[in-house]
Amino acid sequence: MTGASLRLCRSLLQRCPCLRGTNPNCLTPALTSSIMTRSLSDSAAPPAAIQNPEAVTKQSVSQGYGGIADTPRLRSSLNDTEVAKFAAIAETWWDFEGPFKPLHLMNPTRVSFIRSALCRYFRRDPYSSRPFEGLKIIDVGCGGGILCEPLARMGACVTGIDVVEKNINVAQVHAGLDPLTSSIEYICMTAEQLVRSNRKFDAVLALEVIEHVVDPSDFVESLSALVAPGGSTVISTINRSLRAYAAAIVAAEYLLNWLPRGTHQWSKFLTPEELVLILQRASILVEEMAGFVYNPLTGEWSLSDDTSVNFIAFGTKEIPPTM
């Protein structure tokens, strides 16, 4: 999620330099100097070669933001303030009471949707304790690994990619603490770069990412390219509705302080119909969709038919007909 916010911010600044000044609570002197050194080092970093992703894991982790240097579409002058802001709280990924608390609260609901959808599609027993045994899953924009770890515990072979190096570090350290999750592969790179390595996955997950990318269609094309034939993809995002504006932006960012201000931009939200069309163009057929609702009284998220704010979609890629 934070990796995606990063991309959003970069794209915003690429297009609208005037926005640079509109970020509140950002430029303290200390931050400014760290930003200067950061942007200098970034431009010097070479792009990562992606012949052997496993070997690259060690390498790219130390490369900083070099991973993005060669993707002209997603690259833009960094919104260093946002980067610094997220990098600063990267350690708090696994603090359940910290800034990522809303995500932790929402996570079990997302995982239960993924579990039921994937079990149904791949014909696994939903009551087995490791239903995803043998499935290769990738989480695009994995952040600190909040989604990767439960999936690994359910038996999947998980890969997580994110563009923020700190996130990958945090995710790697945390996953190493539990033998069940220490096999998760974390790589600091974008989906586009991974596509070039020709790796395919049974399930490609991009949760709360697509609302941050510059061009959703291109992003979905990359995701689709990562899906093995007969595989699936799960995308979740926020609906471009009035209710979502009130809930996800006004309430979450300004009133409740659940998210840093400027995390989301309402115009980048997609309606369910648009998402379905975009996926269709990338040869992915959406088979299931559900909404998440938050109950403020119990403090819990649950799945529902109400897709007016957060929603999640499960799509499958057809197996190409053999000639």
Binding site: F96, H104, L105, N107, P108, V111, S112, R115, Y127, S128, S129, R130, E149, P150, L151, A152, R153, M154, G176, L177, D178, P179, S182
Partner: protein, 450 residues
Amino acid sequence: MRLAKELNIAILDSNPALKLTVHFNKDGVPHPRVSTVTPATISFFKEVGAWEYVEKQRHAYFNQMQVWDYSGLGYTRYHSRDVGKDYLGCVVENKLLCDSLLSRLQNLDFKKTIHTCRLISMEFPSQGDPTTTDTEQAHMMSGSPGVVPSGNTVEQIRHGSSIKLVLSDGSSLFAKLVVGADGAKSLVREMAGLTTTSWNYPQNAVICTVEHSVENNCAWQRFLPSGPIALLPIGDKFSNIVWTMSPEEASIHKSMSRDDFVKAVNYALDYGYGSHPQSKFINGFMHRISSISGQNMASMEEHFQLPPKVTDLVSERMTFPLSLRHAREYVSKRVVLIGDAAHAVHPLAGQGVNLGFSDAAALAKVIDQGLLVGYDIGEVSLLKKYEKERKIANMTMMGILELFQKAYSVDLGPLNVLRAAAFHGAQFIAPLKRNIVSYAMGDQKWPLFT
């Protein structure tokens, strides 16, 4: 509960009985330590598959209950038919409860190991290296029956996030979750640094087994000036006595001769300290009230009865000091408390062990739900769901019991009349009676307004 089968469980209990394969023998006199299990607990045992072992041995279902006090101003009779059930509860010896669970455990095939040794220390994981231990003491599972499940990773490779338990036989275990079910003086609670609120009651309980010449199938409780005396059927013309009194009186009663004790018990249950409640005048008057409030229940028609005379004391007398203890937090990182380790209550309503079993059921459900979504079972946010569910329920029950205990500790005219009025209310107001019975049986979550 299917997912939890994959967990690796280690049970730590230094009670040597766990090593025995020969189980409970029916003959002999019932042991004085018994528990009254509510229908809710019985369903839990049935769900787990352990109740059938209990039914093979001595146990006593009862469907009637009478509660009165020394002032002679009122009484209440409850019958399970008041709420359309067959029994109010069942009295079972503690050893049998433990035994049935153990027998069931041995028939199940999941990864479990029983370590009959003491816990010496727990090392908690920190971000870096494990920290030094907190205290070094032994722990024993007292009174409360039940198993202690804790996830156990056997690999020695990466235990960065597990708790390391060092045992008295020199071995160590690594656990993702430690469940402290080790009683009111819980070591696990102490080592985890969970604090409690507690106070001692100025009362001790004397318990023993007595015999009658006739079968007893009702639970009797009489509130005396220094504390209640309860007579619970245990089967085969035996009954269990739980008599709460001041510590000095308790030691006197413990050391007096058998005959004197039997006489004292009969006196306490009969005309001692006050007269029988007058059942004639009030009944007729109250009849009108009860017909207004709803259907007449069978138990409202029943007159006051005397409990069967005790003919002999057949076991040793045991005394225990009584206190209330409640952990302020049930949960900390990778540690959760259930049963008496989390809350210890006054025995006056026989609820203690039932609260404990409800805790166990709730925790099992929460863990299963967590496994379904790939949670790390030691994660505090998951365990907090268990705490949220049980803490309020436990505190409500404790509050009610505390109210009773305080109400009966004062012998003052107006207060006696108030208590009598409460008795009459409970006896004759049908909805109230139904709520009380259902709540005490564990079928209802809250005492009123459900």
